[in-house]
Each structure stands twice: as structure tokens, then as C-alpha cells.
């Protein structure tokens, strides 16, 4: 039995590797057709990522928010809910954390940072309340309602930085005033690695622990597996749904808090380059496994480095790298048929 499991694991890994390589090859053909040099681009990316401190650490800087937005999807997914609103929840987290940072600028860092994290978490969690309520009251499906809210919170951020929070120093570029020193998460000297990444690791560890080592995790999996059976067992299905959705949104909010506190140091219009959407796909590809979330986040962080390199060395718009991402996704999506047949 064990050997069987091991060999299945090997075949699964080999299959994912082949799938990934196929996607990179397909994207190479697209670039070739557009008159670019894909091999040079891949080689440049590998040198940049593996050969320079900046390139290597940048991978982790991008993995942090991806892991957290993936958890924002994975936690509700365990009770059978689809949260596509990670992007909006991230913006809400950034917005609320900024509010705290600006209002309590005089506080010392040991007090201010936890308060910012708490308000970021609360902001993201609040953004899931309406969709979760609509879902348990059977008014509307949560996947669409969470997605609709994705568009609302960036507009709220826009309103604040163009209006009440507009920094007087930067007249041409709308953004909030710079945070006080106490509102900044620690950054490792010489790189952009920051303490927010530790939050991502902590969230990931808690997710695995709760899911596999506690009664809550067992009950979550029961609710996700069969809500009707769970209801008959006497589990509070609705409560699980609302709470898991809120925790998911809260984790996305923490990602937003980490971005404004560590990377930007102020609230800007574009807090995230679409981490929420990519996070959904990371979580979807990874399934319940925490390790696979890390692996997929790594893969997509690498893909976005390819995009940077293409933009810098070959003058290709950054968005073009989305083709590579969708090639990976579609090859997995279409390969899924074979896998389910075999099981």
C-alpha cells in the first residue's frame, strides 16, 4: 500500500513537471511567433532569479501575498465555499491598516503594528460578511458576490487617496502620506524581504495545524464534504461557513496590511497587481495541501519574474506573461480529466 502511494506520488509529480514544461514550451512558441527570443528570456530569468540576491529575494516578496491570498481561498474551500474576492479583501485590509497607521501614528511600533494587523484582518473579514450571509440565507451564490466586491474596495482606496488622505507633498501623484516609522514592518537590509512574510508562514502553519490536528479542522472537512450530513450530525454548518469565510477574508486583509506597511509605506492606488486573482488560481491548483500552496506560489512568482525580464530585455508588455500563466492553468485544467478517470 505504502509503495503504491509512493509510486503514485512520483507519477503525479512527473506529470505536473511535464505539464509545466509543456506550458513553458507553448508560451515560447507564442513569443517566437511574435519575433522574440524565448530561450534567451528563460535563460535571463534563471540567471536573474538564481544568480542575484535581488532576483532571488524578490521571488519570496511575491510569494508572501500569493500564499496569503491563496489561503483566503483555501480556508473557505474546506467548507465548500468559493471565495473569488481575495483581491477586494486585500484592498480592504490595506485600507483599514492605513486608517489605523495614520490615526495612531504616535503609538510605538510594538502597539501600532499589531493594531494595524488586527484592523487589516477585520477589514478583509468584514468584506466577506455580506457574501457569506447571502450564501447561508440562500439569496445568492458567494462566488459572484465576492467577485463583485473586488471592484468596490479599490474604488474606496481611490476615493481616500484622492480625497481625505491625499498627501500634501505629492500633488501630482495621489497617495496617502508616508507612514510613521512605527507603522513599518521590519525589512531585511539590502533586500525587500520583510516581516510580513513571517505572517504568511504563520498563517500557513496555523491552517495546516487546525485542519489536520484539531476538532475544528475535522468538522470543517465534514461540512465541506457533505453539508447535509454535517447538519444531521448537529454541526453548526452556517456558523462554520460564515466564520471560515471571514477568516479567509481576514488573511487576505493581512496580505494588504503587509504590502502597505512593508513595501509601500503608504497607501497607493495599486496595492496589488492582481494577487487576489492569482491567489485563487494558486489555491485551486494546490488543493488542500499547504506544501502545494507554497510550491504553486513559487511557480507563479517565478512566472511573474519571467514577465519582468521580458519587459526589461525584450520590450514585451508585462501583461503578456499572463499567457504563460494561463497556459499552465489550462494544461492542468485539461489534464484533470485523465487524472479523475484513473482514480
Amino acid at each position: 500500500m505504502r509503495l503504491d502511494a509512493a509510486s503514485m506520488y512520483v507519477t503525479a509529480t512527473a506529470r505536473s513537471l511535464v505539464t509545466g514544461l509543456l506550458a513553458f514550451a507553448a508560451f515560447g512558441l507564442v513569443l517566437l511567433a511574435a519575433g522574440k527570443h524565448p530561450l534567451a528570456a528563460y535563460a535571463d530569468t534563471a540567471t536573474f532569479v538564481l544568480g542575484s540576491l535581488e532576483g532571488f529575494t524578490e521571488l519570496f516578496v511575491r510569494m508572501g501575498p500569493l500564499v496569503m491570498t491563496a489561503l483566503a481561498v483555501a480556508i473557505p474551500a474546506r467548507v465548500g465555499l468559493f471565495n473569488i474576492g481575495g483581491e477586494g479583501q486585500l484592498y480592504m485590509g490595506a485600507l483599514c491598516a492605513t486608517g489605523t497607521a495614520l490615526a495612531l501614528a504616535a503609538c510605538p511600533s510594538w502597539l501600532l503594528l499589531p493594531l494595524m494587523a488586527a484592523s487589516g484582518f477585520a477589514g478583509g473579514a468584514a468584506w466577506t460578511l455580506l457574501p457569506a450571509l447571502f450564501r447561508v440565507k440562500r439569496i445568492a451564490n458567494e462566488s459572484i458576490t465576492t467577485m463583485l466586491l473586488n471592484y468596490v474596495s479599490p474604488l474606496l482606496v481611490g476615493y481616500m487617496i484622492f480625497g481625505p488622505w491625499r498627501s500634501p507633498e505629492s500633488a501630482s501623484y495621489p497617495q496617502s502620506p508616508q507612514f510613521a516609522e512605527g507603522a513599518r514592518l521590519a525589512v531585511l537590509g539590502g533586500t525587500r524581504l520583510h516581516a510580513g512574510l513571517l505572517i504568511a508562514v504563520a498563517c500557513l502553519a496555523m491552517y495546516t495545524y487546525v485542519l489536520h490536528r484539531t476538532r475544528w479542522g475535522l468538522e470543517m472537512r465534514a461540512v465541506g464534504g457533505n453539508p447535509d450530513a454535517a447538519e444531521h450530525l448537529g454541526l453548526q454548518v452556517r456558523r462554520y461557513m460564515i466564520v471560515c469565510m471571514a477568516i479567509g477574508g481576514g488573511v487576505a486583509g493581512l496580505a494588504g496590511m503587509a504590502e502597505v506597511s512593508a513595501i509601500q509605506g503608504r497607501l497607493v492606488g495599486e496595492v496589488s497587481p492582481g494577487y487576489g486573482y492569482v491567489g485563487f488560481l494558486v489555491a485551486w491548483l494546490a488543493g488542500p495541501s499547504a506544501w502545494r500552496i507554497v510550491a504553486m506560489a513559487f511557480l507563479f512568482a517565478f512566472v511573474s519574474s519571467v514577465g519582468d525580464i521580458l519587459q526589461i530585455t525584450q520590450g514585451v508588455p508585462f501583461s503578456v506573461v499572463n499567457i504563460l500563466m494561463s497556459a499552465i492553468l489550462f494544461s492542468v485544467l485539461c489534464g484533470g480529466k485523465l487524472r479523475t478517470k484513473r482514480q
Binding site: I144, L281, N322, L333, C334
Partner: protein, 302 residues
């Protein structure tokens, strides 16, 4: 609100509503067949970029519309293969299609960033209420928008094809037992959605912006998905919905032009908040209007 403002807003909302209506109709057809496609925005972007490219190359904007329709269909083919043939998760496939569209349109449109394209030939229609008047720009796609909605409504509600398509969306197993070809019907519905989304993108490029810029559809594809819910999967209601949402967009521009102190950010939230606000008003009825098998991969054996 002054009469002048109302008239100007109504006149301007036509252009905004047209592209929304096409995209919404496409999504309605797909969802009626049980397939939810979150990639409308991606297909619209590719439509807009190819309309821009084809119009510049051929010099004929109608070729641009045709190219956009074909490009939209080509995009939806990828989605259809994943969802219909491989039984892939529709939400994930739709988001993947969105990313594919972002990438492909950036690649196709790159030479045309900032270029000016010839728009669709249009007639400026003077409308007047009393002493105030405003010009409505009417082009071929505006003229065809209402007939397109009527056509979709007729196809869905009055033809054998539409009945089978809706049956597949409500209960694929029963439809299969009754002899419907689920695979073919869902392919047709998704391709129709791709065609209409491509046209929607073309209208934005050839009648509103007259140029290409990355991400220029600015979330209208997602508004279209919201509109489908707002309109209860009904093509006739989609006309009203498109006018309301298009009107919100137009009103915002008019207020800004008049220097009124209404934040554009709050105006932009309106379509999304309006949809959320309408949902509880209809409650269970809204849930019942949705195709029963929406979003579920086919579980049977054909």
C-alpha cells in the same frame, strides 16, 4: 437635476449601454446552458485589440468588428474545451481565460498603443426635449443591439434549440435522456458568448475610445456578469439593465464635465452595489431564476 443633464446623460448612455448589452447577452446564452464564464473581460479585451488591429490593417471598421467576433470565438473555444470536454472547474477556467485575454490582447495591441483608428461610421441624431437638445451617436452596432437581444430571446424561448439548451442548463442528465446533445449545445452557447463578447470589445474600441490601451475595458466584462444576475437571465431585462448601468457610467461623466462635486469613485461603485442591493429584494425567486445546473461539471457518462 436639470433637464439638460438628464437629456445629455440619456444620450451618452447609449454608447456605454451597447457594449454592455452585447457582452451580457453572450453571458446569458452561456449561463442558460449551465456554463458560467468569468472570462468575459478577457474576451472583450481580445475583441477590442483585434478590432483595433484589423481596422488599422484593412482600413475598414467592419472588418474590425468581424475580426473581433472571430477572435472572441477563438478565445471561447479554449474555455469550451476545458469546461465541456475536460469537465474542468468553470470558475477557475474562466479566470484562466481572463488572464489569457489580458496577455493575448497586450501582445496583439502593442503596436497600436496610442494610435488613432477610424471608428464605425455613425449618424449623429439630434434629440430635443423642449429647448434642450443632445446628440446621440448611432452606428451599426447600436442599431443592431436591440435586434440582437430580440434574437437571443427568440432563440432561447421560442425555438427547439433554445429549449434543449435551457434543458441542458437546468438538468443535463434529463436533457441527455431526452436526446439532447449536451456537448454540442454547450459548445454552441459558449461560442455564441465569445462572439458577442468580441463584438462588445469592438464597440468600445471603434465607437468610444478609438484607440487601444491595455486593460481598456476597465471591468465592464465583470459588470456584464453582474448584469446577467440583475436581469434574471432574461435577454429583455438585460436591455433595461444595460441602460441603467450604462446610464450610471454616463451620468458620472456628465457630472464630472459639469464640475459637480460627486466623487467619481462612488459613481463607479454603483453597478456593483446596485446588483448586490437587488439580490435580497428578490430573495428565493432570484435563486430560482438561475439555471439549476449552473457551474456544475457534467457528472454523467455520454
Amino acid at each position: 437635476m436639470s433637464t439638460a443633464l438628464i437629456v445629455a446623460t440619456l444620450a451618452a448612455s447609449v454608447a456605454a449601454a451597447t457594449s454592455l448589452l452585447y457582452a451580457t447577452l453572450g453571458e446569458i446564452v452561456g449561463e442558460r446552458a449551465g456554463v458560467i464564464n468569468l472570462g468575459v473581460e478577457g474576451m472583450m479585451l481580445v475583441g477590442a485589440a483585434s478590432a483595433c488591429a484589423a481596422t488599422t490593417v484593412t482600413g475598414n471598421p467592419y472588418c474590425g468588428v468581424l475580426a473581433a467576433a472571430l477572435a472572441g470565438m477563438a478565445m471561447s473555444l479554449v474555455f469550451a474545451y476545458a469546461v465541456v470536454d475536460c469537465g474542468a472547474n468553470q470558475l477557475a477556467s474562466g479566470l484562466s481565460l481572463l488572464f489569457l485575454g489580458l496577455g493575448v490582447s497586450a501582445l496583439v495591441g502593442k503596436p497600436y498603443v496610442g494610435a488613432i483608428v477610424h471608428g464605425l461610421p455613425s449618424v449623429s441624431l439630434q434629440t430635443s426635449f423642449g429647448e434642450v437638445s443632445a446628440a446621440v451617436s448611432i452606428d451599426a452596432l447600436v442599431v443592431l443591439a436591440l435586434p440582437a437581444a430580440a434574437l437571443v430571446a427568440w432563440l432561447l424561448n421560442a425555438t427547439r434549440w433554445g429549449l434543449q439548451l435551457r434543458a441542458v442548463g437546468e438538468n443535463p442528465l434529463a436533457a441527455f435522456a431526452a436526446g439532447c446533445n449536451r456537448r454540442r449545445l454547450q459548445y454552441q452557447a459558449i461560442l455564441a458568448g465569445g462572439l458577442l463578447s468580441g463584438v462588445a470589445g469592438a464597440h468600445i474600441c471603434l465607437a468610444v475610445t478609438y484607440t487601444w490601451a491595455e486593460g481598456m475595458t476597465a471591468g465592464r466584462g465583470f459588470i456584464a456578469i453582474a448584469l446577467v444576475m440583475f436581469a434574471r437571465w432574461n435577454p429583455w431585462a438585460a436591455i433595461a439593465g444595460a441602460l441603467v448601468f450604462g446610464g450610471a457610467e454616463a451620468l458620472q461623466l456628465q457630472l464630472q464635465a459639469r464640475g459637480l462635486d460627486v466623487s467619481p469613485f462612488f459613481m463607479n461603485m454603483l453597478p456593483y452595489l446596485l446588483t448586490l442591493a437587488v439580490l435580497p429584494l428578490t430573495g428565493r425567486a432570484g435563486q430560482l431564476a438561475a439555471p439549476a445546473a449552473l457551474g456544475r461539471p457534467f457528472a454523467g457518462v455520454e
